[in-house]
Amino acid sequence: MTAKPKFAMYWAASCGGCEIAVLNIHEKILDVDANFDVVFWPVAVDAKYKDVEAMEDGSILLTLFNGGIRNDENEHLAKLLRRKSQILVAFGSCACEGCIPGLANLSPVGDIVHTAFNTLTTDNPHEIYPRASFDVPEGELHIPRLANVLRPLDLVVDVDYYMPGCPPESHQIAAVVDLVVKVVKGEAELPPKGAVIGVGDSTVCDECPRARNVKSITEFKRIQDVAPVDPNLCLLEQGIPCNGPATRSGCNSRCPNAGTQCIGCYGPAEGVLDYGARLIAAFASVIDAKEPEEIERILDGIPDPVGQVYRFNLAGSLLKASAEAWKAK
């Protein structure tokens, strides 16, 4: 038996980028190993669900949970890890607010399965679909059942802290690891429950070095249709829908620095209840038109408004999912 506090990390409906981001803290990962006993982390260590089930409740000090809750396996693990963990962190945009997998909340679950198994890019002439259970000589196999909609972690279990980002920036992860190590050593205190950690307290615009003037937009354009893009001027001012005004700081305005628009992966800024609503307010405010027809023409430059303003946030928004998706039978 080791006296080191226990650490776990799990992926639910996510892409695996959060795990990469954790490994991307470089030699700091050795601090994690030096200070924690990694008991469960499917991408890094070999431990089974039944090993977690056998642990005492509350025996894991820190669990980083990434991914949304899309199927009953995700839900089972969320509830299990909540029970076994003292501190449960919704880690990354998916666990915090649904992220890209949350955009599937626009479509009925049947459409999603059909798209995955029977489109032009999927060679499936016999229309073979996965079955929920299947008999094999060794017994009956079950695969997880998809829920109608994807939920962020806090709609399923109680969450102690939120750490947004797609993925969270490595320097922010390193800072949080440092903090937790200090807490373990009794040198620091934990932030209040429910806090958003590893972030700034303002918006991406606030960190963005581009020059800002009064905005009056007469046309919204995709960035590839703007040539040349002024490298020193606010992107929104150039008619490129940039999500910076509603997005929480913490990434050092990484995308605008690299010449592309903010897409909003750090989620709603402090005090913003509904991310998309804040962006609707921001975009609509800077349109330079008073006649409905002209406003409609300018807004045609944003062909997929929900995809634009709720790209990372649909499952965590006030409306959560489209009527089609959540009424699907």
């Binding site: 199927n71 009953d72 839900e75 626009l106 679950v109 049947g110 399965v113 059909h114 198994f117 679909y129 996965p130 079955r131 929920a132 695969i143 059942r145 998809l146 829920a147 109608n148 909609v149 939920r151 209840l273 509904d274 998309g276 609503a277 804040r278 609707i280 307010a281 975009f283 609509a284 405010s285 349109i287 038109a289 008073k290 409905p292 406003i295 409609e296 807004l299 944003i302 997929d304 408004p305 929900v306 303003v309 928004s317 006030l318 409306l319 959560k320 999912a321 489209s322 009527a323 089609e324 998706a325 959540w326 009424k327 699907a328 039978k329």
Partner: protein, 154 residues
């Protein structure tokens, strides 16, 4: 869906300088309008954060009415144009979310137009009544059921 007993809940956002006073004018003149609308006074239609609208729908409202000064008459010069632009973009989002955009209405009303505002409220209540209850999020727990793969691919 056309249940005569269904009474829609409508949240109405009014501007302090015009439409709120229009509602007041209607009251003073004893002009009756449907009690389905719950009016909330803002200082200006430009204060309307789209969050208010989505929160109303998510919280059980069947319709939302936004009212403001006529174009050119805004007390704060041109904030009602901002409301108009937000209204148009909100409608586009509602369509994608599967909410009938007719559940969101924008109405200009000056302080003197109590009768007109009352008539528009009555008209909107009947329109929303015809659309039926929205029940947004009230069925959300049902929505997170996990159907069997056979049901999904049927």
């Amino acid at each position: 869906m056309n249940d005569k007993t269904f009474e829609p809940t409508i949240i109405g956002f009014t501007c302090n300088w015009c439409s709120y006073r229009a509602a007041d004018t209607a009251g003073t003149a004893r002009v009756k309008y449907a009690p389905n609308v719950r009016l909330i006074r803002l200082m200006c239609s430009g204060r309307l954060d789209p969050t208010f609208v989505f929160k109303a729908f998510a919280g059980g409202a069947d319709g939302v009415m936004v009212t403001g000064c006529h174009p050119g008459d805004c007390h704060y010069v041109e904030q009602n144009y901002k409301a108009l632009r937000r209204f148009i973009l909100m409608k586009r989002v509602l369509v994608q979310m599967g909410i009938d955009p007719a559940r969101l209405k924008l109405q200009w009303a000056s302080a003197a137009e109590g009768v007109q505002l009352a008539a528009e409220i009555n008209k909107f209540v009947e329109e929303v009544r015809a659309l039926g209850p929205l029940h947004w999020n009230l069925d959300y727990q049902e929505a997170v059921s996990t159907p069997a793969m056979e049901e999904v691919t049927a």
